[in-house]
């Protein structure tokens, strides 16, 4: 019951009901027009014929007297095909001519139209037809009746009327049924979407709206909702991952910090306090730095700043960051070679792009440095160019590269390969680069060159 009410309350049903009324009115109008132009018109014509005949018979009576009238009526009555009905009687009501046995009972007035059943003669079985006639009293007490068999006419009119009713009923039925069906179908699809969103609200993020594959408007809506859900799920997974990692990687230094303060309090001496406080400050700074890095990554990945994007000169950033890092690389005994094609532009965030490039150079500095005493020289190449319509910023080093099995892992938060545990750093550098790449609808690709590593930041060029 409630489901039915729901169908009747749906906007689709209300709309189809309005259409239905308009449709029924127009169908009714057409059928009424047809009825008027056939049945009613034929009836009128019959009346007209009868009236003409009465007039002409009256004329004959006046001109030729009783004999001529009787003769004409007798002749016309004999004609089977004319379907004419005649009756002529004298002043005492005795039939004098015609094919009707007697005057119908209700022909009482001076003249007028009557309809009555009569039995058709000349056929094997006796059938009763309807007749329509005009009777009139002539001078001298005679009565004349002229009529026509209107059985067929009546049947025809009935047929047309029935057609009209059936057609209307059919149109209304089909319209109503169609409306309900359509609404129910539509409602079912909307209900599917509601159900999906309800179960997502209840916590099942994996639920998706099923598609019909017809690519109609509801399918397209569902598709959009689904991809929105995918994005939300990704973000939520990212959040969960961050909180897991934060819990793990921030707890360690916090525990260490707490232990140190505790130890200093136990020792209860001024130098111990001073040392503990100094180290605590350093530790706190490191924690804050990690925290800031995490927030930057999260915000880059969430795409919150995308609406602030402006055309950015990549060539300029590459040259500036290259120049910023060149002395550092040189002090580390290496060389930084900068090679940026002029006029490279992308739509993006200058600060984030600069930080991504800086992080990649930092990584090269940290992980590609030749071991002490080696005569190998650190070589870092920083280049920017256009490849297949994309702006590609590459940072290449001549270090040991990344083991193939770890290539996919290194961009995850806090991942630091065992070989680099001794180096300072939070394991967030590449995560930020990855986040920045995604924010710019680009990608970060790491390629082992054996030896050496190339990190490519691939960004869609400004159209």
């Amino acid at each position: 019951m409630r489901a039915n009410l729901k169908v009747l309350n749906s906007s689709t049903f209300r709309m189809s009901a309005v259409y239905l009324v308009v449709f029924a009115l127009s169908v009714g109008g057409i059928l009424w027009y047809v009825y008027w132009n056939t049945a009613v018109l034929l009836e009128r014509q019959t009346d007209e014929t009868i009236r003409t005949e009465v007039t002409s018979l009256g004329e004959q009576y006046r001109q030729g007297g009783l004999a001529r009238l009787l003769d004409t009526v007798r002749r016309r009555s004999a004609q089977e095909s004319s379907r004419g009905i005649y009756y002529f009687s004298n002043q005492v009501g005795r039939r004098m001519s015609g094919n009707l046995d007697g005057l119908p009972a209700d022909a009482l007035g001076k003249s007028g139209w009557i309809e009555f059943p009569y039995e058709v003669r000349g056929t094997d079985d006796r059938r009763t037809h309807r007749a329509r006639a005009y009777y009139t009293r002539l001078s001298g007490g005679f009565t004349l009746l002229v009529g026509r068999d209107v059985e067929e006419l009546r049947q025809f009119a009935q047929l047309i009327r029935n057609t009209l009713y059936y057609a209307l009923a059919l149109a209304l039925g089909a319209g109503l049924g169609g409306g309900i069906l359509m609404s129910r179908n539509f409602l079912k699809r909307i209900d599917t979407i509601s159900d999906t969103s309800r179960s997502i609200r209840a916590g099942d993020m994996s639920e998706r709206i099923p598609l019909r594959g017809t690519n109609d408007e509801i399918d397209r809506l569902s598709q959009n909702l689904n991809s929105m859900l995918d994005q939300i799920e990704r973000l939520m997974a990212g959040m969960r991952e961050v909180s897991d990692n934060v819990a793990h990687d921030l707890k360690t230094p916090l525990t260490r910090l707490r232990a140190r303060v505790e130890a200093a309090l136990r020792e209860n001496s001024k130098p111990a306090f001073k040392a503990a406080l100094t180290e605590t400050l350093e530790e706190a700074d490191e924690l804050l730095r990690i925290f800031n890095a995490l927030l930057s990554i999260a915000r880059a990945e969430a795409g919150q700043t995308r609406d602030q994007f402006a055309p950015v000169d990549v060539t300029e950033i590459v040259n500036e960051i290259g120049e910023l890092y060149e002395p550092l690389v040189e002090d580390a005994g290496g060389a930084l070679e900068i090679d940026a094609v002029d006029g490279l532009q992308v739509s993006g965030d200058r600060q984030l792009l600069a930080q991504a490039i800086a992080n990649l150079i930092d990584n090269a500095l940290k992980y590609a440095k030749p071991p002490e005493g080696s005569d190998k020289k650190l070589q870092i190449g920083l280049s920017a160019t256009t490849i297949q319509g994309n702006t590609v910023i590459s940072i290449t080093d001549n270090g040991p590269g990344i083991p193939a099995r770890d290539l996919n892992r290194v961009t995850e938060r806090f991942v630091r390969l065992d070989t680099s545990r001794s180096e300072p750093g939070s394991g967030l550098g590449l995560s930020l680069v990855q986040g920045v790449a995604q924010l710019h609808e680009g990608e970060l690709s790491l390629i082992n060159r054996n030896p050496g590593l190339t990190a490519k930041l691939i960004l869609p060029a400004l159209a």
């Binding site: 100094t278 800031n292 600060q351 930092d362 750093g425």
Partner: protein, 240 residues
């Protein structure tokens, strides 16, 4: 980075300033006020936007430090109101929101500098003192001088004790910024912001290397060093 237990980089350099702090976190405000007073400044405190707005209206402060999120009237609205009323006192915005767009919003509202939480006190102090300097009519100067070090901004020339020193363009801008803030502490992030126009936290000591190169050019062959490292804070150029 190493820290002294008491960071007080401006002992020798700064005349007393009147500073207004609008911050709703009373504990954080307490630390800041203590630090600012220890550095020799007079610091007043307001714990909400409406009180702060009133206190800052008469323009008697040298610098105002405004937290962005405040109970009642928020920091951005406070600054906008001051600016609309013609209060031109330099304002440093403190914010938990550190992204570029937040910085832009803050500066557009009339803030002069922006510091994202969490920050080191030394960074805040350096920026506050830097802002106080900004209102002095230093901008029109075409020549900067610290001791016997001279920087000619028009001729793009640098001399020390009459001796010509050749600087790369970036070194020139680095020295220019340091000398415009002579006697002040400038932090590494301030240098990255003003000399390179980048607002991120460099992972390694990239700025230190540039400073040490500059130092090699302006201090190495002279008896008195001018470019000093302030432990736990940054750098400062000054006589003696």
């Amino acid at each position: 980075m190493t820290y002294q237990t008491q960071v007080n980089p401006s002992e020798q350099s700064q005349t007393n300033m009147r500073i207004l702090l609008i911050e709703d976190d009373l504990q954080a405000a307490g630390f800041l006020l203590k630090g600012l007073r220890e550095a020799g400044h007079v610091a007043d405190h307001a714990s909400n936007g409406d009180d702060g707005l009133e206190m800052g209206r008469d323009g008697t402060y040298d610098v105002m430090v405004v937290d962005r999120m405040l109970p009642g009237r928020n920091g951005i609205s406070v600054i906008e109101t001051w600016r609309a009323e013609g209060v031109r006192t330099p304002v440093l915005i403190l914010s938990a929101l550190g992204e570029v767009d937040d910085r832009v919003t803050g500066l557009r509202a009339g803030g002069d500098d922006y510091l994202a939480k969490p920050y080191a006190f030394s960074e805040l102090l350096a920026r506050v003192e830097g802002l106080a300097r900004r209102v002095e009519p230093e901008a029109a100067a075409t020549k900067l001088q610290v001791g016997d070090l001279e920087l000619d901004l028009l001729a793009r020339k640098c001399t020390r004790a009459g001796e010509n020193i050749l600087l790369q363009p970036r070194e020139f801008r680095l020295l220019e910024y340091l000398m415009k803030n002579a006697g002040q502490v400038v932090t590494r992030t301030m240098l990255l912001e003003h000399v390179w126009d980048y607002h991120f936290d460099p992972q390694t000591n990239v700025i230190d290397v540039h400073i040490s190169r500059l130092r090699g050019k302006i201090d190495k062959n002279f008896d008195t060093p001018l470019l000093h490292t302030v432990r736990g804070a940054g750098y400062s150029i000054r006589e003696g």
